[in-house]
């Protein structure tokens, strides 16, 4: 244990004296994270639309959207599209069909156009539905009024007829058809019926869904792309930085001959690796704490969960990186090769870690991603930072990470022993 502590202490001392590396260790990731937050945190792109002869209602709805709308003629609109002054030309295909002609090279712009058009369509439809409802109500009122009027007239006529009948001599009255008496007796009228009940024309019967209201289990409507990617990048950065620093440190030891001297002391291979893991683990603890603090407080990273849990996950991830670095740094004989090894061993992990959604990729790729430690770290970071997961929710992920740490450590120790006996 003394040896492990001595090695860890020496590594930390080296970093403490190397102010530049130390500063870069913190400033580098923070600058990149801040850039990312600006880049991905910006609102959605507002598309430029050239409109040709759209119906007034739809035109008005479009202008309400987060889009720049230009009224144009057919030729003018086409020229705008070709000169990249507009992302899409909207015109009427026939009296009821909208024609969308998109520029099409940038899928984000196309998506923005589609989103603007569809939300304009939905707004226009909503307005139309409201309009229709109001018209129907108005017609109904009109009808009721007319009905009441007709009823009043009918009553008047009945009263007049009755009075006329009463003035007739009895003989003459007997001559009258009995139906008339019945009619006069019976005060009811078909106009009594409440026509508004029968008249059940309602817009909701034809358009059951007219508007959308969104609520969020996690996050809110202000969450940008950055919020989803932020936790991933924290994990990825720690992984890469720790891999590089530990790998290079080991390569430097070999280059400077200190490793040879190291191995002629009574120290055991597992102690060397343990010292390295401890030293870089502590460095990762420091690095991740500071990065997280700045990221959450100043850059505005989302964090729904507890910070210590985020740090725990980050440090576990960093330890996987250290042990992986120790395991494969034997393959590198200089610092440049460490970077090349990173391309081989770390970049694929980053690609498959969940930066890109894997749900539509081939099965084997999904299986492969489940075999890589970074995937579990990133998953746990997202669970804690975005969904506020607790220790119990991510203990599976942490177990897998620590499994990888143990595996890499044992493999590295075995290889180290073999190498140290016949080192040249």
């Amino acid at each position: 244990m003394t040896n492990i502590l001595a090695i860890a202490r020496r590594i930390l001392l080296q970093f403490a004296h190397d102010k530049r590396t130390l500063a870069l260790l913190f400033i580098g990731p923070l600058i990149v994270l801040w850039l990312l937050s600006v880049l991905l945190g910006a609102g959605a792109y507002s598309p430029r639309l050239a409109t040709v002869g759209l119906p007034a209602g739809f035109q008005a709805a479009l202008e309400q959207q987060d889009a720049r709308v230009f009224l144009a003629g057919v030729a003018e609109a086409e020229a705008m599209l070709r000169d990249d002054e507009a992302d899409a030309v909207l015109s009427m295909h026939d009296s009821t069909t909208l024609d969308i002609w998109v520029e099409g090279t940038d899928s984000t712009k196309t998506a923005a156009v589609m989103s603007a058009v569809s939300s304009a369509l939905s707004d226009a439809r909503k307005a139309a539905a409201d309009d229709m409802g109001a018209t129907i109500d108005q017609k109904r009122d009109e009808l009721t009024e007319r009905q009441a009027e007709a009823k009043a007239r009918q009553e008047d006529m009945r009263a007049v007829l009755e009075s006329v009948t009463l003035t007739l001599p009895d003989a003459a009255r007997a001559q009258l058809p009995p139906e008339l008496a019945e009619l006069l007796e019976d005060g009811s009228s078909p106009l009594d019926a409440d026509l508004s009940d029968m008249f059940t024309l309602d817009i909701t019967d034809f358009m059951p869904v007219q508007d959308v209201e969104v609520s969020y289990l996690h996050g809110n409507e202000d969450w940008k792309m950055f919020d989803f990617y932020g936790p991933v990048f924290i994990g990825v950065f720690l992984f890469v930085f720790v891999f590089l620093t530990s790998g290079m440190s080991l390569v430097n030891e070999r280059g400077a001959g200190t490793m040879t001297r190291f191995l002629t002391t009574p120290v055991k291979p597992a102690q060397v690796l343990g010292g390295y893991t401890l030293g870089f683990g502590f460095l990762a603890l420091l690095q991740s704490s500071i990065i997280l603090w700045v990221a959450i407080t100043f850059i505005g990273f989302p964090n729904e969960g507890e910070v210590w849990l985020v740090v725990l996950t980050a440090v576990s991830l960093a330890l996987v990186s250290v042990t992986l670095g120790l395991l494969i740094s034997g393959l590198a004989s200089n610092a440049f090769q460490v970077i090349q090894l990173m391309l081989l061993f770390v970049v694929p992990q980053i690609l498959l870690s969940g930066i890109f959604g894997l749900s539509s990729s081939p099965q084997w790729l999904q299986v492969l991603s489940k075999c890589l430690p970074l995937t579990y770290g990133v998953d746990a970071l997202r669970a804690v930072m975005l969904r506020g997961a607790g220790l119990m929710d991510i203990c599976m992920n942490l177990t897998v990470l620590w499994g990888f740490i143990a595996l890499f450590f044992v493999l590295a120790a075995l290889k180290f022993r073999k190498k140290s006996a016949r080192r040249i």
Partner: protein, 296 residues
Amino acid sequence: MKDGPATRDNTPAIELVDVVQRFGRKTPLADMRQTVLDHVGFNVAPGTILCLLGPSGCGKTTLVNLVMGIMLPASGSVRVLGEAAPYPKARRRIGFMPQDEALYNDITAEDNLRFFGTLYGMKGTALAQATDEVFAFTRLAKDRKKMVSHYSGGMKRRLSLAVALLHSPDLLVLDEPTVGLDPEHRIHIWEGFRELAGRGKTLLVTTHIMDEAQRCDTVAMLRAGKLIAEGSPAELLKRTGTSDLESAFMRLGENAEESAEGRKGAGADGAKDAGESEGAKANRARGAGRKGAEND
């Protein structure tokens, strides 16, 4: 030669028997194998200084690495303080100064010593005291708090020596300890070596400086991977009839070449004998006593 006071028994501090080391490998395209050490054998008695003398590339560092257990020989055996590599018990009793500095440039000299001292199981006042002693010996006391990266080449060599001496080992293996040192420091350090030998420590020192070889008890001359001669400086001078070790080395080198050529003509068996050179013979003779007898 008188016995060192700390000599425990008569087992040699270092015992090399018929050691062969090869590098490279045979591929279908080319035979890259290269014999770096060709049946080398010698013993180093406790309390003596053995100087491994030879030009650059003759296999000195390979031999040192074999002694330190950094490599294992292709054939033959290496025993140090009565143990074979990886020296489970003897490690603590060996001090090693490799040819390159092998220091951590980005921490202070003191931290370097503290680090290596801890690995040798030293701590507290014992470590502090030993640190003071080796700093005094290597005359680095006033620079002990400096970063090693600010040290000059000579200072780094001396600090590297300080690391090797720190845990007061019984056996010191020093690969070119005085390269890049000015004469004043070199003389001081050799006086120190003599004193250590006087206290019963064993030293294996490689050098290509003939003047330094003169100060050793035994000189082992290595040439192209072969041990061409071994004996005290005086004996070697007497044998070759020369006045300085440099001429002696040249003479012995010529002799070795002649005899190798002569035996090559004699056939395959002769060539094998040539491999088992004077070193091996001397080694056999030395099995009985501590001091190598001339067997010519």
